[in-house]
């Protein structure tokens, strides 16, 4: 058997994984002690981290519902991580029975877990690939099978771009993906930022350092830098805003202060 290009040389579960840490923030148990240790360390600096993740999930839910309302039935979720509750396929397929969802992640454990969760789900699939190689994603059998690139697609880049360093040129990858999508496609994006965090930046940096230590550096970008990912897209109202402000179902004032960390937005290709 040919070793897939993405496959790491070995799976080392003694190294924390961002997707399992994310699961831990969301109260899940799809994680190991190393993951929890890293998560607890980050939470020492930012106790409200779980609230940020929750806000991400809530935004994603609203944005997916919005996409379904827009008539979109195809979803490409890159950096999907470990699908716990309220995943894209749950939300999308609940709203539209024949919605097609493809998850993409480069963490082989997350991929294996997704495969288990999606077993028997005809409309959903998972691709083991790296965001930095969009052509591999687009050429994958799952994308070929489940997604018709001639029709609009909702591309989800939720809480992933802040794990891609500038050296890896995330802007080019995002542009390559945009160019592959049919007009009317949507980009659903959230991104970490020092802006909006209800803490002094020095404290937030402590949490950022934890990610650096586990060799998954967290790249905090400014609003302007994040807005550049939407090049070639028309922003959907209300534009690039803090997560609770994006088409809220309930009053944003009721949200936890941490939920306002970072930015979320949806863009539409012309």
């Amino acid at each position: 058997m040919e070793r897939p290009a993405w496959a790491p040389r070995s799976i080392d579960i003694s190294v924390p994984s961002v997707s399992r840490i994310y699961d831990y923030y969301l109260g899940g148990s799809h994680n190991f002690e190393v993951d929890r240790e890293a998560a607890r360390k980050a939470m020492e600096f930012m106790p409200g981290l779980p609230k940020i993740m929750q806000a991400n999930r809530a935004f994603m839910r609203r944005a997916v519902s919005f996409a379904v309302d827009e008539g979109i039935t195809q979803f490409l979720d890159i950096g999907s991580g470990i699908p716990t509750f309220g995943s894209v396929h749950e939300v999308a397929q609940a709203a539209c029975g024949d919605a097609h969802v493809v998850y993409v992640d480069h963490d082989p454990v997350a991929v294996a877990h997704s495969e288990a969760v999606l077993a028997g789900n005809e409309g959903a699939g998972v691709v083991a690939a790296d965001f930095r190689k969009p052509q591999e994603i687009l050429a994958s059998p799952e994308v070929q099978r489940l997604i018709d690139l001639n029709r609009p697609v909702a591309l989800l880049l939720v809480a992933i771009l802040h794990f891609v360093e500038d050296a890896d040129d995330p802007y080019t990858a995002v542009a390559e993906l945009r160019d592959a999508l049919a007009p009317g496609s949507l980009l659903l994006l959230t991104h970490a930022s020092y802006e909006g965090i209800p803490l002094p930046a020095e404290r937030a940096e402590g949490a950022v350092d934890v990610y650096k230590d586990i060799r998954n550096p967290l790249i905090m970008r400014s609003r302007e830098e994040i807005a550049r990912f939407f090049e070639g897209y028309d922003m959907v109202e209300p534009g690039l805003v803090a997560m609770p402000h994006w088409r809220p179902d309930t009053a944003p004032e009721d949200e936890d202060p941490y939920a306002f960390s970072g930015f979320a937005g949806v863009g539409r290709t012309a």
């Binding site: 496959a7 109260g27 994680n31 779980p50 929750q54 509750f85």
Partner: protein, 711 residues
């Protein structure tokens, strides 16, 4: 369902609202709070009913506790807040008009059961999720492992099948793994190899830095090194390898293993050594050759301050004669013996002997003391030649001429040094040979011209730099022009017109005399034809052409001459070949045969410079000669009047002897009328000299002949 204000339904909803507000902040749900409240409402209803049921049903409460987990209230704080809520508000909002005390007791029991149900559900969910993630990890590992296995199998095939030797050892030098190629190279079993330590693999030929590099590598200060290294094989032979050793580090960057890749270069090395030897040694004598010598000389000349060099340039005297008379095989054996003797003269460190080619050898000495050493070296060489060399049962006495150059390093180039040595050697040779001379800049400068001429000669002929002047031969009896001697000149681009004395010996030495001589003959014969065509004299004009000793022995002489005469349509009697007396001294029949053939054809043969050698007069009859050319030394004294009576007697005698042998007599160097008159009286037949004409272009002779004809 209707909810009349403050009716039971309305109160139930208010309870659910309070509950959801209390718990929502600690849930992980992505639902909104109102949605979450809708999820709690059925649970509140079940609690309300359980509160009022006739019999206590723990399972209902447990189910509610478990349901909390399934709406993602996995934080223990969610349970705590739920229980607070139930404790404070369930009886109040849902108790209706039951007995307060009983209701409170029931609510407490419900809380216990809810907690148990929550704990159990959470435990199950946790276990299930742990199981799921562990399975996923295992699954992922399986995929990777399978891929790795395939990769490893492939790498193993590469490792085993590689033509180069591959070996791995730990940092202490213990051999861990080696491939087949490496075992084959060393000629040992895997076990033997595994029992050995890398540090034992020393070899006398190890480059000095080899083990220093090794130490640096295992210390982690060096990532890899590359070297040529020899190893002992158990059968006693040597294995030469191109060795590359790399350091392998673990994931944290700490040195872990050393990896050696080696290529067997034994054969190639041997071949290289042999090629190098062949390229730098003379096949006949085994001495270093010119290439090798130049390398060493260059090194010696490039040595630092205080270092000097001394060079002896040896050329055997008369080797050509030995070669010609005894044959090349004998000549070769002689050279081998000379080489051996020379070799024994230069055994000290810094000394070397080389054969440059032919019978030319060099001996080099280097160091601070060569001023003294080089003289000793030359003396040793001369001494080594004293004893005769036995070749084919003959005892041959070999002599040599040596040119010595000595000086400090760093001043001259190898070519300059060698040229100076060459020139000096020629000086020794011209001084009679069997001696050595020390280089002297002035003598060098003189000789350099000679050297330059020698090297320029071959191209000079191609470039048409030679031309011929003609000096008339005049009949003493009637003063008529009977012919002319062809004299070759070289119009040298730098040195101007050069006479034959300047370059004929050089041409002889280099062998260029043969083509040059042929060219002169051809040009002269062509000129003779022209004269014959224009000048219809009673006695035909004749052309005299000089033959050098070398041409005389050249096997093509007769044929070349015949070809030229025939091609030009000129009768043989129009040609006279001049041969020096010295060239014919001791000439045997073999040497005379071509001259006889030419004479028989009608070509005149003149004996040039007669009277300078110790010729056997009796021998004259044997020679196919028809003319004697008296050397100018006999006639010089006749330029004055009265002439030296002894000279007169001698010339008279020679003329009479010549005439009695039917030989005509020509005199050279006639410069005055008195001289000419005297020679006429003495009976000489023809004369040449400045009195008549200097050598000049062919047209001049034509004019002269015309004057003669009309006068």
């Amino acid at each position: 369902m209707s909810a009349e204000p403050d009716g039971p339904e309305d109160r139930l909803r208010r309870f659910a609202t309070i509950w959801s507000r209390a718990v929502f902040p600690v849930t992980s749900t992505s639902a909104t709070r109102p949605e979450f409240e809708q999820q709690l409402l059925p649970l509140a209803r079940r609690l309300s009913e359980a509160l009022k049921a006739r019999t206590y049903d723990a399972d209902e409460a447990k189910a509610v506790g478990a349901a909390l987990v399934s709406v993602h209230c996995t934080d223990p704080e969610a349970l705590s807040r739920t229980l607070d809520c139930v404790d404070a508000y369930l009886v109040l909002y849902c108790g209706e008009d039951g007995v307060q005390e009983d209701l409170r007791a029931r609510a407490a029991r419900l809380q216990h059961a809810m907690a148990a149900g929550f704990a159990q559900a959470l435990r199950e969910r946790t276990l299930a999720e742990q199981e799921a993630i562990a399975q996923a990890a295992l699954q992922a590992q399986g995929v990777v492992a399978q891929a790795l296995h395939a990769t490893e199998a492939r790498f193993r095939a590469v490792f085993e099948g590689a033509a180069i030797g591959i070996g791995m050892a730990d940092l202490e030098g213990n051999v861990l793994q080696v491939n087949g190629a490496l075992l084959r190279m060393f000629g040992v079993s895997e076990q033997t190899m595994r029992d050995r330590n890398v540090m034992e693999w020393t070899h006398a030929e190890d480059a000095p830095q080899t083990w220093k590099l090794y130490e640096e590598l295992v210390r982690g200060d060096r990532e890899h090194y590359h070297t040529e290294k020899a190893f002992h094989r158990p059968d006693g032979t040597v294995l030469w390898t191109n060795l590359t050793v790399s350091l392998l580090r673990d994931a944290d960057g700490n040195p872990q293993y050393q990896l050696a890749l080696m290529e067997d270069t034994t054969e190639r090395r041997l071949l290289n050594l042999r090629l190098r030897y062949e390229a730098t040694h003379d096949a006949l004598t085994g001495l270093p050759n010119r290439t090798f010598f130049f390398e060493r000389l260059e090194k010696a000349l490039g040595a630092g301050k205080g270092q000097r060099f001394g060079l002896c340039y040896l050329d055997l005297d008369g080797f050509k004669t030995i070669n010609d008379s005894l044959g090349h095989a004998a000549g070769d054996r002689l050279l081998v013996e000379v080489a051996d003797r020379l070799q024994s003269c230069a055994t000290a460190p810094g000394e070397m002997v080389a054969r440059l080619g032919g019978d030319e050898f060099v001996a080099l000495t280097t160091g601070p003391d060569t001023e003294r050493e080089v003289d000793e070296l030359a003396a040793r060489i001369m001494n080594a030649m004293v004893a005769p060399i036995s070749v084919d049962g003959r005892e041959l006495t070999v002599r040599g001429s040596i040119g010595i150059v000595e000086g400090p390093a760093g001043e001259r180039s190898p070519a300059e040094v060698l040229r100076s040595a060459d020139i000096t050697m020629y000086r020794a040779k011209s001084a009679g040979g069997n001696r050595f001379e020390l280089a002297d800049p002035e003598a060098d400068a003189r000789a350099i011209t000679r050297h330059g001429l020698t090297t320029a000669l071959p191209t000079a002929l191609d470039r048409g730099e030679f031309f011929i002047e003609y000096q008339p031969l005049v009949h003493l009896g009637d003063g008529s022009v009977r012919g002319a001697e062809a004299l070759v000149r070289w119009l040298h681009p730098q040195h101007g017109v050069l006479g034959p004395d300047r370059f004929i010996p050089l041409a002889e030495h280099t062998g260029l005399i043969v083509p040059l001589g042929r060219w002169v003959l051809e040009q002269s014969v062509r000129q003779a034809r022209e004269w014959r065509e224009r000048h219809d004299a009673a006695v035909p004009m004749r052309i005299n052409v000089n033959l050098s000793p070398c041409q005389l022995t050249h096997p093509g002489l007769v044929q070349d001459t015949v070809d030229i005469l025939e091609r030009m349509g000129v009768e043989p009697d129009a040609l006279c070949l001049e041969v020096t007396e010295s060239a014919l001294i001791g000439a045997d029949d073999d040497l005379l045969k071509p001259l006889r053939r030419l004479a028989e054809m009608g070509v005149d043969i003149a004996l040039d410079d007669f009277g300078t050698g110790y010729s056997n007069l009796a021998n004259l009859r044997r020679l196919p000669v028809s003319i004697l050319k008296l050397d100018r030394s006999f006639t010089q004294s006749m330029q004055q009047f009265p002439a030296d009576p002894v000279d007169l007697k001698i010339v008279e005698g020679i003329v009479s002897l010549a005439h009695s042998l039917n030989l005509a007599v020509t005199v050279e160097g006639v410069e005055t009328g008195a001289q000419a008159e005297q020679l006429r009286i003495l009976g000489c037949d023809t004369a040449q000299g400045w009195y008549y004409a200097r050598p000049g272009p062919p047209e001049r002779l034509h004019e002269l002949a015309l004057v003669d004809a009309t006068g």
